[in-house]
């Protein structure tokens, strides 16, 4: 399994906003464990909230990385706020919208909205949460620490996602 929690970037306004979607699929292994059948309780496949958080982190991280043409190593430094008030299940689509609140040489803070698109409700979008994050440009903030020269944050998988989404 690859650590990719978004499937496609659908909108990018450089240095401002990025929108990405994630299709929740029964083929995902973790949905068979979260939650598996137990005793009289039937299996209950629900997208783990921590992976929704990761999806937003990847959405916002790409937005921040793109702003400096992926020269900076963008690391999630802090979850300022994360609120989710409805679960996502197989067949749903999650739509992440990340907006840059502040950005400078040190890093960036982002505000995020999570929407759920449900095929059983005509694919209407419902806001199910907000996730605010902070990212650090580690080469700027960890003076004295040594990191690999290459940008290990934005891997080949991310570059494939950018290319297939038509992002340059």
């Amino acid at each position: 399994m690859r650590w990719m929690w978004i499937d496609r970037i659908v909108e990018l306004v450089p240095r401002e906003r990025l929108v990405a979607v994630k299709n929740v699929s029964m083929a995902e292994e973790h949905l068979h464990d979260h939650f598996e059948a137990k005793g009289k309780r039937a299996a209950m496949p629900i997208m783990p909230a921590c992976f929704i958080l990761e999806g937003m982190a990847q959405t916002a991280g790409i937005l921040v990385g793109h702003a400096e043409e992926f020269r900076e190593k963008v690391i999630l430094a802090k979850v300022g706020k994360a609120e989710l008030h409805r679960e996502a299940v197989p067949g749903n689509v999650l739509r992440y919208t990340a907006t840059i609140q502040h950005m400078d040489k040190s890093g960036a803070s982002t505000a995020g909205v999570v929407e759920l698109l449900d095929p059983m409700k005509g694919w209407s979008a419902e806001t199910i949460g907000t996730i605010d994050l902070m990212f650090s440009h580690i080469d700027q903030n960890m003076s004295g620490e040594e990191f690999p020269e290459h940008n290990f944050v934005f891997s080949e998988s991310f570059r494939t996602l950018l290319r297939t989404s038509g992002v340059r």
Partner: protein, 128 residues
């Protein structure tokens, strides 16, 4: 903006950034020791101050680069006289009186009180 108004905004901002109770934030509160701020929180605070007050804050302007990583500023675990002079010139918003009695590098974090942040904002707004 009055000093009280600045304090109220700084307090609200710290409550959000550090997830602390408003009652626990006063002018003498130390960001690390009393309010539990960690290194990444300092960056968060700088971002929030920039947004709330509409000011531009350069790297190391409010909080210094880590003195422990600057060989000429530290000797035997203490900030040298030269290092102290340099810190004072770079951080005019900070009160060094208590720190000077024991300039241990481990105590650098204690220099940063809510009052120091309010002083900083007040100076920035005055020159805006």
């Amino acid at each position: 903006m009055t000093r009280d108004e600045i304090f109220n905004k700084v307090r609200t901002l710290l409550v959000d950034a550090l997830v602390v109770d408003e009652e626990g934030v006063n002018m003498q509160s130390r960001l690390t020791t009393d309010l539990g701020a960690e290194s990444i929180d300092f960056l968060d605070i700088v971002f929030r101050l920039s947004q709330v007050f509409g000011i531009t804050i350069g790297q190391g302007e409010l909080f210094p680069e880590n003195p422990a990583q600057q060989a000429d500023m530290v000797k035997d675990g203490k900030v040298t006289a030269g290092g102290l002079t340099m810190l004072k010139s770079k951080l005019p918003h900070v009160d060094f009186a208590a720190f000077e009695k024991d300039p241990s590098v481990k105590r650098v974090g204690e220099l940063f009180t809510v009052e120091a942040v309010v002083n900083f904002v007040e100076r920035k707004l005055a020159t805006k």
